[in-house]
C-alpha cells in the first residue's frame, strides 16, 4: 500500500460516491454539481497515473465547458428549482442491468489483474504527448478536427429553425412577427399576473376607502368649526360669502363628483375676485 494506492483509493471513492449522487439526485442542478465533483476526482486519478496533460484537459473541457453547458441547458429548459418527482423510471430493471454490468466488469478486471504490483512510469509531459499526436496520430487528429467542425455546424443548424427547415406544403401562410415571449404563452404566468393585479386593486381600494373615511371624519370636525366661522364671516363681510361658497363647492377627493350646476355660478364670481 503506497501513497499512490491511498490517493487512488480516496479519489476513486470520491468519484464513485458523487457518481451515485449524479444518477440518484432528484435535483437537476445538484446532479450537475455532483458531476463536477466526480469529474474532478477522475482528473486527480489521471494525475496520480501520470497523465498530466489529460488531467488538465479534463478539468478544462469537462468541468469548464461540458458541465457549464449542461447547467445552461437545465436553465434554458426551465427545470424546476426544487426536487422533481417525475425524473425517474422504475428502478428495478435499471438496477438489475447496471448492477449486472458493474459486477461483471469488476469480476473480470479483478480476476485479470489480481493484487499485482505495477511500477508507475515517469509522468508524461506535454512534449511527449505533442510528439505523439503530431507524429503517429496525426491522421486521426485531422479527422477529429473535421468531426468537431461538423458538430459545430450541426449544432448551429439544429438550434436555428430558419436554416434548413422546409415549409410544410399543407400548412397555411407562416405566422408573421416574432414568436410569443415566455410571459405571453404560459397560462400559469398569465394566471399569476392576473392574481397579482386583483390583489393590488383590492389593496388600493382598501387604502382609498380608509383615506376617504379619515377625511370624512376630519371634514365633519372641520365643518363644525367652519360653520361657526362662516356664520360670523357672513354677518361681517359680504365678499366672504363668495369665497367660502367657492371653497365649499370645490371637488373633494374620494367624494362624489361635484355637480356642474354649483360650479357654473362659481366661475364668474371667482373672476371678480
Amino acid at each position: 500500500m503506497t501513497v499512490a494506492d491511498a490517493l487512488m483509493l480516496a479519489l476513486g471513492a470520491i468519484a464513485v460516491g458523487s457518481g451515485v449522487f449524479v444518477v440518484t439526485s432528484t435535483h437537476l442542478v445538484r446532479a450537475g454539481f455532483y458531476l463536477v465533483v466526480s469529474l474532478g476526482a477522475i482528473a486527480g486519478l489521471y494525475l496520480v497515473l501520470g497523465a498530466e496533460l489529460v488531467a488538465w484537459v479534463q478539468i478544462l473541457v469537462y468541468v469548464g465547458a461540458v458541465v457549464v453547458l449542461m447547467l445552461f441547458a437545465v436553465m434554458l429548459t426551465r427545470a424546476p428549482i426544487g426536487p422533481s418527482k417525475d425524473l425517474d423510471r422504475p428502478a428495478l430493471p435499471a438496477a438489475l442491468i447496471g448492477g449486472g454490468v458493474g459486477l461483471g466488469l469488476t469480476v473480470l478486471l479483478v480476476d485479470a489483474f489480481r493484487w499485482t504490483e505495477f511500477e508507475l512510469p515517469p509522468p508524461g509531459t506535454g512534449r511527449r504527448v505533442g510528439e505523439q499526436i503530431f507524429g503517429a496520430w496525426v491522421l486521426p487528429f485531422e479527422v477529429l478536427s473535421i468531426l468537431l467542425l461538423a458538430a459545430l455546424v450541426g449544432a448551429i443548424v439544429l438550434s436555428r429553425p430558419d436554416i434548413g427547415a422546409r415549409p410544410d406544403p399543407n400548412a397555411g401562410p407562416e405566422p408573421e412577427g416574432p414568436p410569443p415571449g415566455p410571459v405571453d404563452e404560459s397560462e400559469e404566468v398569465v394566471a399569476r399576473l392576473q392574481r397579482i393585479a386583483e390583489r393590488q386593486a383590492a389593496a388600493q381600494q382598501r387604502v382609498r376607502d380608509q383615506r376617504a373615511a379619515a377625511e370624512r371624519a376630519e371634514q365633519a370636525e372641520l365643518d363644525v368649526v367652519e360653520g361657526e366661522l362662516v356664520e360670523e364671516a357672513r354677518q361681517t363681510d359680504p365678499l366672504a360669502d363668495v369665497v367660502l361658497r367657492a371653497h365649499e363647492a370645490r371637488p373633494k377627493p374620494g367624494g362624489p363628483p361635484p355637480e356642474p350646476k354649483r360650479e357654473l355660478p362659481g366661475a364668474p364670481e371667482r373672476e371678480e375676485d
Binding site: V22, Y46, A51, Q58, L105, L109, F118, Q132, L144, P178
Partner: protein, 123 residues
C-alpha cells in the same frame, strides 16, 4: 501501485452510467450519465497506458506496431475521447433544446418517434 484500483473504479463508474441512462427520464440527466460512462472508458485507457508498457518489458514488439520510440497511446486516445464527448454534448444539447422549443418537454418517454412532423416550421 496496484492497478486494479483504477480499473475497479472505472468499472463502477461505467455501471453507474448504465444505471443512469436506463433510469433517468430527463434528457439532460441521461447526457450526464453518458458522460460518466465516457469518463470510465477514459480512466481505463489512461490506466492501461501507465501499466501495460511496464508489464511488457522484455517483449520485442513488431516494428509496424511501434511507430514512435515510446508507445504510450492511451493518453492520446483519452484526449480523443474527451474531444468526442465534447462534440456529443454540444450536438445532444442542441437537439434537446430544439425539442424543448417545439414540444415544451425534455422527458424522453414522451418523444414520439412515429410522428413525422419534423418539417413543421415553428418559431
Amino acid at each position: 501501485m496496484h492497478v486494479v484500483i483504477p480499473y475497479v473504479v472505472a468499472a463502477l463508474l461505467f455501471a453507474l452510467g448504465v444505471y443512469g441512462v436506463l433510469r433517468r427520464r430527463n434528457a439532460i440527466l441521461v447526457l450526464m450519465a453518458v458522460e460518466l460512462m465516457l469518463n470510465a472508458v477514459n480512466l481505463i485507457l489512461v490506466a492501461a497506458d501507465s501499466t501495460i508498457k511496464s508489464a511488457l518489458t522484455g517483449v520485442q514488439p513488431e516494428a509496424w506496431a511501434n511507430p514512435v520510440p515510446e508507445p504510450r497511446a492511451g493518453a492520446i486516445f483519452a484526449l480523443f475521447v474527451i474531444v468526442l464527448a465534447a462534440a456529443e454534448v454540444g450536438v445532444g444539447l442542441a437537439i434537446v433544446l430544439q425539442y424543448y422549443r417545439l414540444r415544451r418537454a425534455v422527458i424522453l418517454d414522451d418523444v414520439e418517434l412515429y410522428r413525422h412532423d419534423h418539417e413543421r416550421v415553428t418559431g
